[in-house]
Amino acid sequence: MSFFTDANLARAREIVARYPSPKSAILPLAHLAQDQHGWLSPEAMEQIAELTGVTPAQVFGTCSFYTMFKLRPCGRLVVSVCTNVSCLVTGGPEILDHLERRYALDPDVTVEEVECIAACGGAPAMQVNYEFHERLTPELAEDVVDAYKRGALAPRTVSGARAGGAA
């Protein structure tokens, strides 16, 4: 059974063909799989392994290095709140705490704590599916997430690609 949809499988083959060594395609295929499925499931990694000629353990090893690959199911909105120095002193932890409580039971939203996302100038900052939002307060942050939930803001994919864009 193929994990990839027919269209994505064709696309995956195309991506593999771009590289002199098929295993170079592991990361783009992982993005593709995560975009299709919302997270990187064992089935996805197995098929990536098959397409790139390595073992699933190697795909797992590679993908687990990057925190942007979700190895467990997550919401369609991944909210990454920075708590590194600039954000720490400007209220990042409060935002994190607020969002974690607010969306604890919301299957659509996964809140995570991250290190500096290079938006210190606009601290405190967060990303929703890797789209930046700066100068936040707990309330503002909640409004932003809700706007995505309502569809007032169009989210990127969980891998951070623009919706409909290339992997």
Binding site: P42, M45, E46, V54, T55, P56, A57, Q58, V59, F60, G61, T62, S64, F65
Partner: protein
């Protein structure tokens, strides 16, 4: 494995180079000045160790590795002695299973990547990899795919800490309590070198030992972990005799008398042809030799076969020009006819994979169904089961070998027992018929010491030392007092004769035809048709349970002696534990029976058997116990062709056997002939150039063991017969005589 500079313990100072490069990944250059013990370097080593120890738990007292741990040793030698790290160490569940056999304690792992590199580079099945990153970095297998590699045990051996653990060995012993003996694994016919370790008279572990020409230090899991059976509860520990339809425990003299009595009776009433011997491939060469001498020299039957209808004809195995495993590395081409080496002779697979993948030797995968080597094969030429290799493939392989130079190595065994050996034999013949190519065969028969047993004459039509019955008749009659009149039956024939009631005593030397013979029905009828079965075995196998006399024998780990691997390399196996119960060595059982049949072998120790073999078996001439004991890499038979390659062990180091090195050997001076290695032989072209120099012939000293009066080295014996592959005494490269004959047919 390639160096990767993971642990950073080898940072050194190099003159003119900024910083401190790791020695392991820095190639040596001309005039380079390296300092390994300056103040700065020492400070760095202390620092590195402090970091390595930050997350390393202090559970050495309950760690399998405690006492033999490179990290402990490094800490003692180069460590800071004290840690400034007062925070909480990393914690993980201890230990988690990576497979049924291998456990991982992630807290102890120092991320050296030895295990992952082994899995990828050497075994070619990277089922484990580093996962996550930073201080969370850990070795893991993938979800539902366990670390089920045939070679996983090697990672436990090379893990520098107690992170990877073997379920078999965990908490079994403290390293300093272990008694160790160097030996060879005889689970299959590769005979990887190993160190068998015991504690309280129980074998607890087998470690790989680096034997350059054979296993490079690796073992497969079936060899490494297939050791528990030695002490299994169902070992038969005492002799048994069938009394009133039931096997009853009896004393040795009773059992031996019963067996000898029946053999004598049958001999008198039906002649030697009514007695047959099956098996013998699982013991030592000494066992095989003693049984061959008993069967052929004393009883006079040639119905003897150590294979079970699942191998190749003895003529082929003994007759072809043999390859060494090292030949694969420098081969012009390698052809694999079958079986799948990873299944049957696993460490040979590692060597073949290395040759094909890392050394660029073109490999022709000609197995009927393919398997583990296919990904590394330059050419995949599936042959139809039962059909020989196509002429086009033979031609292509020959052309490749000619163009590249180097021998053409043919790995030949039975791809499956469902297939008759003919296809394999015909394929070998096709290669043997080639001109202008140095064709050498690695016979991939799988049974532990089948090559030793064949060499010792446990096959119809053969006598010890690769000589046929006819060629060796005079020589062995002189030494043994007699040999069978004519060629006997092989395993198939023996079983058929037994089924027809023509075999009156069947001796099973660790053979279990009911389970092992491809034709189970025939085996059943055979065992039903034999009135008297003598089982020499360690277990009451299905066939042995049918025995009238059961003689329990010692097994690997309980036995000293020599074994011969698929190259013809003779190595010593060592006794590490006392035998279970009153089990006796097979060779001793044979000589006890012989004595009861009126022949005194006069063999008291296993070394005397080895020396007798070295004195009478043409292909083994000169391979005395003393020589084999000292030869670092074992000795490859026929010794005559490999004079220059013997490396002698001195204080655990291998050194060249040079004049004055205090070692010497002198191949048997039989028949009044000049000692092998005398001037006639020194003109012989060395089989191949090697880093080891041949011993100058004239400087060799006489062995001390030569004057044994027991060896049946009668005065003025008949000329020694030629062993099947070439000659022993005469100079000149061996010719694949049998192969040629086969081609002609």
């Amino acid at each position: 494995m390639k160096p990767v500079g993971m642990c950073r313990m080898c940072l050194v100072e190099v003159e003119g180079v900024r910083g401190f490069p790791p020695a392991c990944t820095t190639p040596v250059t001309d005039g380079m000045v390296v300092r390994t013990r300056t103040d700065a370097v020492e400070k760095i080593q202390e620092g590195v160790l402090e970091f390595l120890l930050i997350n390393h738990p202090l559970d050495c007292p309950v760690c399998d590795r405690g006492g033999e741990c490179p990290l402990q040793d490094q800490t003692l030698a180069f460590g800071p002695g004290e840690s400034r790290f007062v925070e909480e160490k990393r914690h993980y569940e201890k230990p988690i299973p990576l497979s049924n056999m291998i456990l991982l304690d992630r807290e102890r792992c120092i991320q050296c990547a030895r295990c992952t590199r082994f899995a990828e580079e050497i075994a070619g099945d990277p089922l484990i990899d580093f996962v996550s990153r930073g201080d969370r970095t850990q070795v893991l297998n993938f979800a539902e795919q366990p670390f089920e590699s045939y070679f996983s045990g090697n990672t436990v051996q090379i893990c520098p800490v107690g992170a990877l653990l073997a379920r078999h060995y965990r908490f079994k012993a403290r390293p300093w309590d272990l008694a160790t003996a160097e030996t060879s694994c005889t689970t299959c016919s590769v005979h990887c070198r190993g160190a068998v370790q015991s504690s309280s008279n129980r074998i607890v572990r087998l470690l790989g030992v680096d034997l350059d020409p054979v296993n490079h230090g690796w073992l497969c899991d079936k060899g490494r972990y297939g050791i528990d059976w030695v002490h299994a509860d169902d070992r038969v520990r005492e002799p048994h005799l069938r009394v009133g339809g039931e096997l009853r425990e009896v004393s040795w003299p009773e059992a031996l008398d019963a067996a000898a009595g029946e053999i004598r009776k049958v001999l008198r009433m039906h002649g030697p042809g009514a007695i047959a011997v099956l098996g013998g491939a699982r013991g030592t060469n000494e066992d095989a030799y003693a049984w061959a001498r008993l069967a052929k020299g004393v009883i006079g039957t040639d119905h003897v076969d150590c294979q079970m209808g699942d191998g190749l004809p003895a003529e082929v195995v003994l007759g072809v020009r043999r390859a060494e495993i090292d030949d694969c590395d420098r081969a012009g081409a390698i052809v694999v006819l079958g079986p799948d080496p990873r299944e049957e002779v696993p460490v040979l697979f590692l060597r073949l994979r290395r040759a094909a993948k890392d050394l660029g030797v073109p490999l022709f995968d000609c197995t009927p169904v393919g398997g583990s080597l296919a990904p590394y094969a330059a050419h995949v030429a599936r042959r139809v089961p039962g059909e020989p290799v196509g002429a086009d493939v033979v031609e292509l392989a020959a052309r490749t070998a000619r163009e590249r130079g180097g021998p053409l190595v043919v790995v030949a065994g039975r791809p499956s027992v469902a297939e008759a050996p003919d296809a394999t034999v015909r394929s070998i013949a096709a290669f043997g018929a080639l001109d202008g190519v140095d064709v050498r065969v690695l016979s991939a028969l799988r049974r532990g010491n089948v090559h030793g047993a064949l060499e010792m004459g446990l096959a119809p039509g053969f006598l010890p030392g690769r000589v046929t019955l006819d060629a060796g008749r005079e020589w062995f009659t002189q030494r043994w007092g007699g040999v069978p009149a004519g060629r006997g039956l092989d395993a198939d024939g023996i079983l058929r004769a037994a089924a027809e009631g023509r075999v009156h005593v069947l001796v099973l030397l660790g053979a279990d035809p009911l389970l092992d013979h491809p034709d189970a029905l025939l085996a059943r009828r055979a065992l039903e048709g034999v009135p008297f079965v003598v089982a020499v075995d360690a277990f009451r196998s299905e066939s042995a349970a049918r025995a009238d006399v059961f003689l329990p024998c010692t097994v690997w780990g309980e036995q000293n002696g020599t074994v011969t691997n698929l190259e013809g390399r003779v190595q010593r196996v060592a006794r590490r534990v006392a035998p279970e119960g009153t089990a006796m060595d097979d060779w001793r059982i044979a000589s006890e029976l012989a004595y009861r049949l009126g022949a005194d072998f006069d063999l008291a120790t296993v070394d005397e058997v080895t020396d007798e073999i070295a004195a009478v078996a043409p292909a083994a001439l000169g391979a005395t116990a003393a020589l084999v004991r000292r030869a670092r890499d074992g000795v490859v038979l026929p010794l005559r062709e490999h004079l220059g390659e013997i490396v002698v062990r001195t204080r655990g180091l291998s050194i060249l056997a040079e004049e004055g090195a205090g070692t010497s050997w002198d191949p048997i001076r039989a028949g009044g002939a000049a000692p092998a290695g005398a001037p006639a032989a020194s003109g012989e072209p060395a089989p191949r150039t090697r880093r080891r120099r041949p011993v100058p012939a004239r400087t060799r000293r006489r062995p001390r063991t030569r004057s044994s009066t027991r060896t049946p080295r009668a005065s003025a014996p008949p000329t020694r017969p030629r062993c099947t592959s070439g000659t022993v005494r005469q100079a000149g490269p061996p010719r694949p005589r049998v192969t040629r004959t086969l081609c002609a047919s």
